[in-house]
């Protein structure tokens, strides 16, 4: 078996690794671009974990049935999202659970069904799977199977999500596509603090069970001015961040920050004017905004950290080719994680970085 290498593609990355004492590259593959507040009102400088705390605080203040629970949340949580909440709102409302994800989610569903606003924290999205049955078979189907006698809409599951630079197999996963396959569950992923607060509050107040993935690499890295009062952002609605005419770029979470750079690079190096869309709610997703954009541009790149096969980009691509077939100038491109477990030392090669995305844009434009 011979090995052929796409030189231009890999050599650039290999040259970054030529140092002798190589620690894995500590340069993250993106830079966070702060945004202005999405709604008016008094703001405070917050990073992502603080914006989550703010949303939870607003909720616990306004909703007496609200409770926040999960592993280690009482002392503030491993990512500091729940700092001060137990002291302020009491141990009956902000409390630790034992280490039992299936139990945590099942318990949360029960509390929600009985009328509470149950906000369950799962320490890492990689650990959601013991609770997968509860989400798929209980939470998502409660309304449907009871003819709306009951619903688990009061449940919101929060989990730390995505690549963090050194998380390896079990601290980096992006499992959104597993949940996209379950009708009845709303899956949301914010790109930054002010989006996170508004979307989390929307999830909490939603009448449907929601899973809210928080990009863990942005917990400290993303800082901007966030409104201190309660506000919501619409679920099921994508947002066009940059308008363009040549190529539509779709992503969510941390990947939006990568795509911002891709937009710039594409303009500089390829003369391509890109339209950047943050999907925000992965499922149920805003088909209209994407279809409208691709009808205009004729070219689509979807990118996510999760592996390619069965990733949510496949669903978007399939729908777009159905609705925009005659408008497409090139096949829909997907730049995703490889079909491997999230690697340990090879993370920089796994993540869909800006170079891989730019390469895909080049192919789209030159098709």
């Amino acid at each position: 078996m011979t090995t052929t290498i796409h030189f231009r593609f890999l050599l650039r990355r290999l040259s970054l690794r030529c140092k002798k004492h190589v620690a894995p590259s500590r340069n993250s593959h993106f830079t966070y671009v702060p945004e202005s507040p999405p709604v008016p009102g008094e703001t405070q400088r917050m990073n992502l974990f603080q914006s989550v705390t703010s949303a939870l605080t607003n909720t616990l203040e306004a909703d007496p049935t609200a409770m926040v629970f999960g592993e280690d949340v009482a002392f503030g949580g491993v990512f500091r999202c729940t700092v001060g909440l137990a002291a302020r709102f009491g141990k009956e409302r902000v409390f630790n659970t034992p280490l039992c994800e299936q139990g945590i989610i099942g318990f949360g569903i029960g509390a929600a069904v009985a009328g509470a606003t149950a906000i369950a924290e799962i320490q890492f999205a990689d650990y959601l799977y013991p609770g997968f049955d509860q989400i798929v078979n209980e939470a998502s189907k409660y309304r449907y199977r009871s003819g709306s006698d009951f619903s688990s809409g009061g449940l919101t599951v929060r989990a730390a999500w995505g690549a963090v630079g050194h998380g390896a197999l079990y601290h980096s996963q992006s499992p959104e596509s597993f949940f996209a396959h379950v009708p009845g569950i709303t899956t949301v992923i914010p790109r930054g603090p002010s989006q996170a607060k508004g979307l989390l509050l929307a999830c909490i107040q939603s009448d449907d069970p929601c899973i809210f993935f928080e990009p863990k690499v942005l917990y400290r890295a993303a800082v901007e001015d966030v409104p201190i009062d309660s506000y919501t952002l619409p679920l099921g609605k994508a947002e066009v961040l940059i308008e363009g005419s040549d190529v539509t770029l779709v992503g969510w979470g941390t990947q939006i920050q990568v795509l911002r750079e891709v937009c710039k690079l594409a303009e500089e190096r390829l003369g391509a004017n890109c339209e950047l869309i943050d999907l925000r709610t992965v499922c149920p997703w805003d088909m209209n905004t994407i279809v409208e954009s691709v009808t205009k541009t004729g070219r689509l790149l979807i990118t996510h950290e999760a592996p390619l096969t069965g990733g949510f980009a496949a669903e978007i691509a399939s729908t777009v080719q159905e609705h925009c077939f005659l408008n497409l100038e090139a096949p829909v491109a997907r730049v995703c994680g490889w079909d491997t477990p999230f690697p340990h030392i090879h993370e920089p090669f796994y993540v869909p970085d800006k170079w891989r995305c730019l390469e895909a844009v080049r192919k789209l434009v030159n098709y």
Binding site: R26, E71, N96, Y129, P130, P343, I345
Partner: protein, 385 residues
Amino acid sequence: MLSSRIARCFTSVHLRPSCRGIVTSATFDVTPFKLHKLDKGPPDTGIELTRDDALDFYRNMQRIRRLEGASSTLYKSKIIRGFCHLYSGQEACCVGIRAAMKEDDGIITAYRAHGWALMMGETPESVLSELTGKYSGCSQGKGGSMHMYAQNFYGGNGIVGAQTPLGAGVAFSYKYRQTDNVCFTLYGDGAANQGQLFEAFNMSSLWGLPVVFVCENNGYGMGTSADRAAANTNYYMRGDYIPGIWVDGMDVLAMREAARFATEWGGSGKGPLVIEAATYRYHGHSMSDPGSSYRSREEIQEVRETRDPITGLRKRLLESELATEAEIKAIDKEARREVDAAMELAKTAPEPPLTEAYTQIFWNTPEFRVRGCDPFTFGVSPTCN
């Protein structure tokens, strides 16, 4: 959290002096075992410890302590990254159990596994190289801290509690093949509340599997103390219908005796057993956790001063004249030298080739073009046959 100070006691020694004036074996007492659904447990008095074994235990515990210290240093210099869970303080558990294991007994544990990797045949170099993500690491740099394996050592598992039904499965294979082996299946006090552990208890009791469930109770599941996570903190009783033994996990001799009892129990077809090892970890849950926001520094200090497994064994060796101060110092020095040398190798060894990113997914991955990779790239892993 452990509330009582566990006094370690030993009686005056049985001297069998060698011609050099150092004894070749001594006997000791250990803190009495607590038993659940057992009429008779391991002996807690008159336990014989030979000089060779004693030095071996000491050497291995010291190597593990040094290894974890090196991991901590490398982590703080950001040469090791990611998630790294250190075993310092718990050395007596793995050294004691290993001493009682028969040649083909199996062991599976969670992610606090560096000590086990060393005891099951890896070297400080292969462990540290795995942590630094080098090709010479025991999993070729692909697993990292939580995924180290060796002959009869099934890892190295990241998901809490998930390893317990696996241990039952391994034990099933021993029973199926009619060997007298047992599978030591380790988990922590946090995992003791996971549902799948109870599924594993039920299956192994129903089918009489030779599993030795070992709960390494270090008092904390990440940042939650045991008594705030468990309705019943008597973990050796949590197997309910499965007999259980509580043992002082800071005493390597007590651990060996409990493990010996367990290998005989399981090996003679009596089915599963639960052992609770009362132990303690000095570091935080992982290197990302300072370990001081949910417990006091005084508590950590107290354990170090009064219950440290290495200090405890050293005291026994000296007081019973199983070894001299000079010999012990030499072992300390050698352990430091060995681990320091390994540290240097782990820093400078080469990383795994890029092809390793997309091989060993399926059994025949080199033949199989991994979807998603650049269409011009597919490779052959040099280690795959």
